[in-house]
């Protein structure tokens, strides 16, 4: 890798290499039966250069000598057309000034093989089908070992290894043309994670959803679980992104220091949480990971940035440079601002009390169509894929053919209560449950 950096720097003012080596073992169960075992080995390198003050970028899965020359040539050609660089590659990370690197590697996860994953997957299938043999479940367990090396011509970067174990389960119940489908997903970098928890999570919701209840069209209190709050989370993620702020398309541009939300709203991005799926010692540009306050007590504290966006905005990177996957090749994307572990802080009420306080309302637990609407304004309008009708504080059953709509900023100013426990949703973000005073519900046949 040093060789390639040396070749690249000959033609450029500065250069950076990002090298990935990973091995993923997924095992897949479909319709409650083991279907396949896989091994996916990925190697790839991305070269970013600054040449005559402009950014050039190229990536390849081919690490041979001949390919290296080609990689340098392609990056040089793209630099001729590229954007003016507003940053320098970071120098070495000096330890001690910030938090120690989070735990993201566990030998016991690295040692898991397909045989063990099959055993773990079978356990999940058994727990679900023992409750009700008519449930057809799909389970996917995946173990990944990843090695990332970042080097740049300023002596920055580093190398780290990361292990992850993720478990996904779905339960399918069919009755007539009613197709009842529930998902769960959880994961960790550490072996203290019990993959069987997703089976319980799925079953709990199967029990609640056995009865069908009719929702009505109108405005009413709506409770979003950690999973259900996805469309609002996506809107916040977009509004807090340094890039949308810089372009003026974020409703939270020019709002730093201002009270925009209910004072109970706290949002952070934290890449230093031990064992969390989004944790890393450094971001994809070699900038040291940290915890970044985004919203505190309803006040916008800042936005999240990568190097280039921060340079343009006249601020510093928050260690949020990510490389977005294209069709599974996650070294292929140019760094852009992205969240690591987004955390919405819990409140003070118990979930049970929150439900008990609802005279008539809807609980939203899974949505379909999140991110499809006008994300920029925070407007959402989603299908309640899994949701429940509440009457006089009691869950009456599962609703069908129902949509919920509103605006993220307005809703986060109209909070009745926030639950005292935050949960990971699909391994992507952590959030408590939110009860909003009044949102629009549209239901079929009413």
């Amino acid at each position: 890798m040093k060789d390639l950096l040396d070749v690249a720097i000959k033609n450029a003012d500065a250069a950076e290499l990002y090298l990935v080596n990973s091995e993923t073992i997924p095992v897949v169960f479909e319709m409650s039966k083991l279907k396949q075992a896989e091994t996916k080995r990925t190697t790839g390198v991305a070269l970013r250069i600054i040449r005559s003050g402009k950014i050039g970028f190229s990536s390849s899965t081919d690490l041979s000598k001949a390919a290296a020359d080609n990689l340098v040539n392609m990056a040089t050609e793209s630099a001729d057309m590229g954007e003016t660089a507003r940053f320098d590659f970071p120098g070495p990370i000096t330890d001690g000034e910030v938090m120690p690197a989070p735990l993201i590697y566990d030998d016991r996860i690295a040692d898991i093989d397909a045989d063990e994953l099959i055993r773990m997957g079978q356990e999940i299938v058994d727990i679900i089908t023992e409750e009700d043999p008519s449930i057809k479940c799909g389970v996917q367990l995946e173990r990944e070992v990843q090695e990332v090396t970042i080097t740049n011509s300023n002596g920055g970067g580093g190398r780290y290894r990361k292990t992850t174990l993720t478990a996904m389960a779905d339960a399918l119940l069919v009755e007539g043309t009613d197709i009842f489908l529930i998902y769960s997903m959880a994961g960790s970098c550490c072996s203290n994670f019990d993959s069987r928890s997703i089976a319980q999570d799925v079953l709990e919701r199967v029990r609640l959803g056995r009865t069908i209840a009719q929702a009505r069209t109108g405005r009413m209190p709506v409770l979003f679980t950690a999973r259900g709050i996805m469309p609002l989370f996506i809107a916040l993620q977009s509004a807090l992104n340094g890039k949308t702020v810089l372009e003026g398309s974020s409703p939270l541009a020019d709002k730093v220091g201002r009270q925009v939300f209910d004072p109970r709203v706290f949002v952070y991005d934290d890449a230093t949480v031990d064992c969390a799926l989004g944790s890393c010692p450094m971001d994809a540009e070699g900038v040291k990971s940290r915890k970044t306050p985004l919203i505190e007590a309803g006040v916008v504290k800042g936005h999240y940035y990568d190097l280039q966006t921060a340079g343009k905005a006249g601020t510093s990177s928050t260690g949020n440079g990510v490389r977005q996957a294209h069709a599974g090749d996650y070294f292929e994307g140019q760094p852009t601002p992205g969240t690591s572990n987004p955390l919405i802080a819990p409140g003070t009420e118990s979930l049970e009390d929150m439900i008990a306080s609802m005279d008539e309302g809807i609980i939203v637990d899974q949505v379909m169509g999140a991110g499809q609407g006008n994300v920029l304004t925070g407007d959402f309008s989603v299908n309640v894929h899994l949701g429940f009708k509440v009457e006089h504080g009691k869950i009456m059953g599962r609703v069908k053919d129902t949509m919920v709509a509103g605006n993220t900023i307005k809703a986060l100013n109209d909070i009745v209560a926030i639950s005292d426990r935050a949960e990971w949703a699909y391994g992507q973000y952590s959030a408590p449950a939110f009860l909003f005073r009044s949102l629009g519900i549209a239901a079929k046949g009413s």
Partner: protein
């Protein structure tokens, strides 16, 4: 520190003279020998090898800035093995060690077969073929500079349209793929494929009100499909600005008329995914719901899917199991008459493979996917369609759509109220949802103006496999009793 290996098939491994091209015949021979070797020692029932080489160019402009401008090369392969009804799969970038990968795939298949081994493969005829696309303009022959210049022309049109245009996003992708497929049944196919797509987004802002509009272009016959869209792009900016003055739609149930753009997304989301047999082939309850011969939609409805329809984003000659593509009628006169298959699902359902097993690339196994999915032309003109609607919605183009089999949802980019038989005022935030079993029955008029949608840089996602190039299409259609969520 660079590993001394070549990932480029097959120069390092086979050729002694660098740069000298191998004949397909020779490559064929070598792959066949590798498979034969692996089968000798491991006794798999079936082995297939896919080797792929993708060259990509990506350009993204955001506002006045170049957001992304890069070329990439992805070369790798995969081996899939079937042993006693269990599947093993290995993907990799180091092609030189092909034999080891075959051994690993076979051992994983054995591991699976010890727990559960009931996978089957429908028989197909062995094929030997080479497919090269007829390109009008090969995107690899166009410099990055001229690609950027064309995209900037479009970007400037949008940015200068109005001071209300806050920002823009122009995204362009081209991919040239060489795919080699060989299996233990003596099929050997080389296919080259070119996919070009672009999307142009205008974002208009007035105070806290932000509206966006997107138009797209794309095709498989070369770079020229990106040219000449100046008028559409200007229209896109105009529509975004006009949408600022649209009122949010009132939530409720409406008769909706979908334009061909949105109706195409509708047929893909609301019905297409349900016709992918891997959802239903092992679930007797779902098979009952999807039994052939069942009245599924109104009698005017005809739906088909097929990669053998030439010239669209989802078109190809052979799928990723080496099966010849076809056109599959799915609904005829409202009756369910067909579905999409891989070799695995076809065998389990005692039907014929349809050539719909696709993988986004060598890192993934082929699964049942749509290709070009469309509603066929009917007889009603647009004017007739809206003439007797007292209060309804005319919904145009889609931001996106999603389905979970029974339920679907999709969001309109642009919408108008229909009042007393006429297209009336603009409305926004129109998101439609429904239940597929009811909604197809509620289609009561189909136009005679079918269009296929081939544009864009995205594609279809299923499981972890995104984006897969597909097209969809439809004439205008009218649907009764659709739930629209407002804000």
């Amino acid at each position: 520190m660079l590993p001394k290996q070549s990932a480029t098939f097959p120069s390092k491994h086979i050729s002694r003279k660098p740069g000298k091209k191998l004949s397909p015949k020779r490559r064929h021979k070598i792959l066949q020998n590798l498979i034969k070797d692996a089968l000798k020692s491991h006794r798999a029932d079936y082995v297939e090898i896919r080797i792929e080489d993708h060259e990509r160019t990506k350009i993204s402009l955001r506002g006045k800035n170049v957001d992304e401008l890069a070329t990439s090369r992805s070369v790798g392969g995969c081996v899939r093995a079937l042993v006693s009804g269990g599947w093993g799969f290995v993907s990799f970038n180091d092609i030189a060690n092909l034999k080891d990968h075959v051994a690993l795939a076979v051992s994983q298949a054995k591991l699976v077969s010890r727990v559960c081994g009931d996978n089957l493969l429908a028989p197909v005829e062995p094929i030997t073929d080479t497919v090269v696309p007829a390109l009008v303009v090969d995107p690899r022959s166009i410099s990055l500079a001229s690609k950027r210049a064309l995209l900037e022309e479009y970007n400037d049109i949008m940015l200068s349209y109005s001071p209300k245009i806050q920002t823009t996003a122009v995204r362009y992708r081209d991919t040239y793929s060489k795919k080699y497929f060989a299996n233990s049944e003596c099929t050997y196919i080389e296919q080259e494929h070119c996919d070009v797509g672009a999307s142009f987004t205008a974002i208009a802002r007035e105070g806290d009100n932000v509206q966006q509009m997107l138009v797209s272009a794309g095709g498989i016959d070369g770079y020229q499909c990106i040219k000449g869209h100046h008028d559409e792009v200007r229209e896109c900016a105009r529509r975004a600005v006009e949408n600022l003055s649209a009122a949010p739609v009132d939530a409720g149930q409406y008769t909706v008329v979908l334009d061909p753009g949105l109706a195409g997304v509708f047929v893909h989301e609301a019905f297409g995914h349900l016709s992918e047999s891997d959802f239903i082939y092992e679930n007797s309850m779902l098979r009952e719901i999807m039994v052939l011969g069942k009245q599924f939609g109104s009698p005017i409805l005809n739906i088909a899917d097929g990669a053998a329809v030439p010239g669209h984003r989802g078109s190809y000659k052979y799928d990723d199991e080496g099966v010849r593509s076809s056109v599959t009628p799915l609904i005829r006169d409202g009756v369910l008459v067909g579905r999409l298959h891989s070799r695995g699902t076809a065998a389990k359902m005692s039907e014929r493979p349809t050539g719909n097993a696709r993988a986004i690339n060598y890192r993934f196994q082929p699964i049942v996917r749509m290709t070009n999915t469309y509603i066929e032309n009917g007889e009603t003109s647009f004017d007739e369609m809206i003439s007797d609607i007292d209060k309804g919605i005319y919904a145009i183009d889609a931001y996106g759509g999603e389905t979970t089999m029974e339920m679907f949802t999709f969001s309109a980019m642009e919408a108008f109220m229909i009042r007393k038989g006429k297209v009336a005022e603009r409305v926004r935030n129109v998101v439609l949802t429904g239940n597929v079993f009811e909604t197809l029955m509620h289609i009561d008029a189909i136009g005679n103006d079918r269009k296929m949608n081939d544009g864009g840089v995205g594609g279809c996602g299923k499981g972890q496999q995104f984006p897969l190039p597909v097209s969809d299409g439809s004439p205008h259609i009218r649907i009764k009793n659709v739930v629209v969520g407002g804000t």
